[in-house]
């Protein structure tokens, strides 16, 4: 794609700016900042990726993945406001599922151990795990508030916290997995996923692109499920004191 074509694509943003102006939405400034930031951030990432791909140094791969996990955990932890150690919980959840998923992909030789494969796929795993962790954390808080009576009733009958929190745990894990499961159901019918679209645009055989996309969807569903489960299992304990008393945190 030439720089001229890229420049012409700015016209679409111009269209959005006209709509904003016409409807008095006041978004023109934000749009301009967005365009500049997207341009700068993606260009820098492009240069970093070309450097990392060319350097064949594994340290860079580790650094990039760590950065992704750190930013994702910070973002997802905002959904668990008020929960003690929310940041550590989502960090462990995202890091663990990224590690396991990547390890399986490499050990089963589904992908080669090169930066070109590891970094973009890690981005997808971490991005989707971030969404799963955020939704799970959010649901965990709201379900504990909603089902407070039921949980305390179970505790009063001698149930240990894990048993008492079971309906909350199930609901939160389910909530974390729903976005992935729903997108698996409609993929190809409603939208062509970004990765597949990119490959086709870059001239790859659509059948080959589809195979990668299926692998990515399976990988993402596994990673999301694992993240939700870890976040819930670490998170629910924060709602109980060591004396099996329920504490519902203010958010």
């Amino acid at each position: 794609m030439s720089y001229l074509s890229l420049g012409l694509a700015l016209g679409f943003v111009g269209l959005a700016a006209i709509v904003s102006r016409y409807q008095e939405l006041g978004l023109e400034k934000d749009l301009a900042i967005g365009v500049i930031r997207a341009f700068i951030q993606l260009t820098i990432v492009g240069y970093i990726l070309s450097y990392v791909f060319a350097s064949h140094n594994q340290i860079f791969i580790v650094l990039m993945i760590s950065l992704m996990i750190g930013v994702a955990a910070h973002n997802a932890a905002k959904r668990g406001k008020g929960v003690p150690q929310a940041q550590s919980i989502v960090l462990i959840g995202i890091a663990f599922s990224e590690g396991i998923t990547l390890l399986l992909l490499l050990a089963l030789r589904i992908i080669p151990a090169t930066a070109q494969y590891i970094i973009p796929l890690s981005g997808m795993i971490v991005g989707n795990s971030m969404i799963a962790a955020g939704v799970t954390m959010n649901r965990l808080t709201s379900e504990f508030k909603l089902r407070r009576g039921e949980v305390e009733l179970a505790l009063s009958l001698g149930a240990p916290p894990k048993k008492a929190a079971l309906p909350v745990i199930q609901s939160a894990v389910k909530a974390g997995m729903i976005p992935t499961v729903d997108s698996m159901k409609t993929v190809g019918l409603v939208q062509l996923p970004g990765m597949m679209t990119g490959q086709i645009l870059a001239g790859a055989d659509p059948i080959q692109a589809v195979r990668y996309q299926i692998m990515v969807m399976f990988m993402i569903s596994g990673a999301s499920a694992l993240t939700s489960l870890i976040v819930v299992l670490l998170g629910y304990t924060r709602y109980f004191t060591p004396h099996a008393q329920l504490v519902v945190h203010d958010s």
Binding site: L153, S156, T241, H243
Partner: protein, 247 residues
């Protein structure tokens, strides 16, 4: 009359920190609950009755003081065992998914013991055995509260805590439930702590009473004495309906 002390509450306080402020919900409360009797916790709303009740099975953590069950400090007991020994019936009947029988057997199932017959507990609360396979949410308010009591009884508790169990029931259902509890108390030597704001109900059911006001214990003693001649000015005001709540 059995005068042995089942629950001995000694100088307990419960202080919560909420949005940077300290709230004293219970302020150095002491009381003695006698074995095999019905003890009513009275007081206007916001006086700490339910909070006190929830400290007895340690669903709420006390900030200071001690609570003894049969002369053993409750913090030294296994918390899950304590809650089986000190059962609770909440103000609003809440049910787990499943049938009446599933709900009654919830406690015993946790313990991996041989399951008791749910009919027995339905019988104890005066419900027809046909109810076992019913969805508890389809029952009347009074029947639901009786299933709640049966569920608590299935753990074979020594003490039953009742948190205003009749507040949503009509007069007839309330009196029926009162009869069930009084009978249980007599036949099973069950000790009952009953939170109520209904003075008529307290007169009908309680042998002992404690009056709480703003988190403090104002009076306690035999119900007959309290209703005939309260010791404190606040006690008199409460009986006359002149002691306002804090909420």
């Amino acid at each position: 009359m059995n005068d042995s002390i089942k629950l001995n509450v000694e100088n307990i306080s419960l202080i919560l920190q909420e949005r940077g402020r300290f709230l004293t919900l219970l302020d150095h409360v002491s009381l003695k609950i006698r074995q095999g009797r019905i003890h009513a916790l009275l007081g206007p709303s916001g006086s700490g009755k339910s909070t006190l009740l929830y400290t007895l099975n340690r669903l709420r953590q006390i900030s200071e003081g001690e609570i003894y069950l049969d002369n053993t400090e409750t913090r030294s007991l296994n918390i899950l065992d304590l809650r089986r020994r000190v059962g609770l019936v909440m103000q609003k009947a809440i049910f787990f998914s499943g049938t009446v029988s599933d709900n009654i057997l919830y406690g015993p199932r946790i313990q991996d013991k041989e399951l008791p017959d749910p009919f027995h507990y339905l019988e104890l609360v005066g419900l027809n055995p046909d109810f076992t396979n019913r969805d508890p949410n389809t029952l009347s308010g009074g029947q639901q509260q009786r299933v709640s009591i049966a569920r608590a009884l299935a753990n074979d508790p020594e003490v039953l805590l009742l948190d205003e169990p009749t507040s949503a029931l009509d007069a007839q259902a309330s009196e029926h439930l009162e009869e069930v509890v009084m009978q249980l108390c007599q036949e099973c030597q069950l000790t009952v702590v009953w939170v109520t704001h209904d003075l008529h109900q307290a007169r009908r059911v309680a042998q002992d009473v404690t009056l709480l006001y703003r988190g403090q214990m104002l009076e306690q003693g035999e119900a007959a004495d309290f209703f005939a001649q309260p010791i404190t000015v606040e006690g008199r005001a409460y009986l006359d309906g002149r002691l306002g709540g804090v909420e």
